[in-house]
């Protein structure tokens, strides 16, 4: 179980893997997530499902190296096995009845936005995609997005590729031209989702965001992933991960996301040192 069937570097810090997990592959849907452990002493980390192949029994994950665990994961190769891989967890993204949707992806969040855009396209929805990155060398999944989009915008913060600016720029322009959407689905860094919600608010467009807070079990047990939605406490793992972005307290979520910043940096450094030793 949990063998790595495919590994592909999408950019210097983002990697795609197909993992053999037939039970998960059979049920996974866009918007759901898995929790994995790399090895016996490993921590449990949540990753959103980036794709699945029900026949092959594989689930695609795309991750950015941010801490010790993702560093360890990135050093696993095709044929290696992961210790644990549990899912699908959380509720799938609701797409029923949507006719015209703007999907906004930021950075590694594009990996999660893509299956949503694909699902919308498959049901005959008109899809506008806006994907944004810091710079050209970090761009991922451009062709894949184009293939499922009626309208496509590529944005980079520094203008090194596509248009210069953040993802709200084309969104605001479209609103200015009088365009409207049944729904905007934004998946990316918290600050990006916060600003997308601010951009859509005056137009009253329903805006769905996918929250990816710190989690342990992913089944509702630890309460670590709690967030305030419309002033009420919600657990991202069982009540989400999708929420009405206009009701999410992003400032609180951003603060909570930084609970272990220092620990993560140290863990990653430790993992890097470990691998330097191994290759020497």
């Amino acid at each position: 179980m949990y063998e790595i069937l495919k590994k592909q570097a999408l950019n210097p810090t983002v990697t795609l893997m197909d993992i053999y997990a037939p039970y998960v592959a059979k049920k996974a849907q866009a918007g759901q997530f898995v929790i994995l452990r790399v090895d016996e002493a490993g921590e449990r980390i949540p990753l959103t499902v980036a794709g699945y192949d029900r026949e092959k029994g594989s689930v695609t994950i795309i991750f950015q190296v941010v801490g010790g665990t993702t560093e360890l994961l990135n050093h696993k190769e095709v044929g290696d096995r992961l210790q644990d891989f549990v899912g699908p967890l959380g509720k799938p993204t609701e797409t029923e009845g949507l006719k015209k949707v703007c999907v906004v992806g930021g950075g590694v969040g594009c990996a999660i936005a893509l299956p949503v855009a694909r699902k919308l396209k498959e049901q005959g929805c008109n899809v506008t995609s806006i994907i944004g990155f810091r710079s050209k060398d970090l761009v991922i999944l451009e062709e894949e997005f184009k293939a499922v989009s009626d309208t496509f915008y590529m944005m980079t913060d520094d203008g090194s590729y596509g248009q210069k600016g953040n993802v709200c720029v084309p969104l605001n322009e479209m609103y200015a031209r009088g365009e409207d959407f049944d729904e905007v689905i934004a998946i990316g860094p918290l600050v990006m989702m916060k600003f997308v919600c601010l951009a859509t608010k005056p137009h009253g467009t329903k805006t769905v965001v996918s929250m990816n807070p710190i989690m342990i079990d992913g089944t509702g047990m630890c309460g670590c992933c709690r967030l305030s939605v419309d002033g009420k406490m919600m657990f991202a793992c069982v009540d989400g991960p999708d929420f009405d972005g206009q009701k999410v307290d992003f400032d609180e979520a951003m603060s909570r996301a930084r609970s272990y910043t220092e620990f993560e940096a140290r863990a990653r450094e430790k993992a890097c040192n470990l691998f330097k030793k191994e290759v020497q």
Binding site: E43, Q83, M233
Partner: protein, 473 residues
Amino acid sequence: MAFNMRPDKNPMPCQAPDVRSRNFEEVALGYTAEMAIDEAKRCIHCKNKPCVAGCPVNVHIPEFIAEVANGDFEAAYRVIAQSSSLPAVCGRVCPQETQCEGKCTRGIKNEPVGIGRLERFVADYHNEHCKEAPAAVPSNGHKVAVVGSGPAGLTCAGDLAKLGYDVTVYEALHVAGGVLVYGIPEFRLPKAIVQKEVDGLKALGVKIETNMVIGRVLSIRELKEEYGYEAVFLGSGAGLPRFMNIPGENLKGVFSANEFLTRSNLMKAYLPDSETPIQRSKVVAVVGGGNVAMDAARTARRLGAEVHIIYRRSEAELPARAEEVEHAKEEGIVFNMLTNPVEILPTAVEDVRDERYGWAAGIRCIRMELGEPDASGRRKPVPVAGSEFDIPLDCVIMAMGTSPNPLLKHTTEGLETDKHGCIVADERGATSVDGVFAGGDAVTGAATVIKAMGAGKVAAAAIDEYIKNKAKA
């Protein structure tokens, strides 16, 4: 045989408080054979055996104690094993003072017989000396699925396997054991003991599938219709943590006891080489007075903190086992009774980019006094106006109990639950869905290991009967 009329129990040898509050090794070290025999002779074998009625699974207590007094510890084990599947666990975590020992005739005038300590001694003796794995029973060809590998599920699985059923246990986490693994700390229940129980089940032929969240990866209907299980037992526990709905609960440094304990126990964050982080705090407040609160407090203490228990009723109402309260006090934990939190106070940093922003820095509490008895029969705590005070701290752990996970309710058509989200089951564990049984905290809400075990036992018998009747029809 001459009875030992010594008035008090043989004391339990323990690690010294100042030593154990700095390590995670088991606190209570267990009786020696001499102590066990001496303690067993304190049982006067009274006619009514009130202890047996006090035990949720009716262990034949005087009979096993008689074997201990005779020095035949394996015979004592065989007596216990007739009724209990997890004696090494129950001897450690049962609230004996409200069960067997609470009813003991010796306890009327003096201390009761140390039944829990004797049970633990017998189970540990057996685990240490008996090397024979239990033999698998020939299969009867019937398949049963068990959802959850906590005390209810393990007991149900064990009993069914002994009857020849082909049993598969589905566990959501990466290891089996449920609350015995993620909730109860190593210093109270060493994980090797739980592993031994799980290994025993595997030797009986029980299959354990970890990483399987039933309700998501497979539905109950699929288990029955596609995977061929003739009956399903739901022992999914009460895992959802409760919070108080007071301001500041989402600050960093505020944890549910489940999260804090899961990080430490399941993810081994107390070990220096764990990859899972845990907050090392200076001052911790644990809100609640149950066993989980004591476990969280004593874990935080061992991680180096000054720890305060905050409980709204008085010490007499503390729901935790007496021994845990006593141990916690010895370890230097401060008990703030008749105290209730009203707000968790943040650090005085307003710049959101500052790393110190958004952390808990204190807890505002109000003094309580006991008023008229409430629905639970206990005197209801009421706030004393104007008595607010603050405790400066850097960590708050909420241990106010748990509710059943709504996942199975949401994904199982026709499964009836009550207003608290607990699965509705009759006294034999049958639910509103044909062939689906339930027991343990998923039915009762958060309770005890032994009650869950009892429910697992009852349901196993009911499942056996259900499948036999169906085969006849």
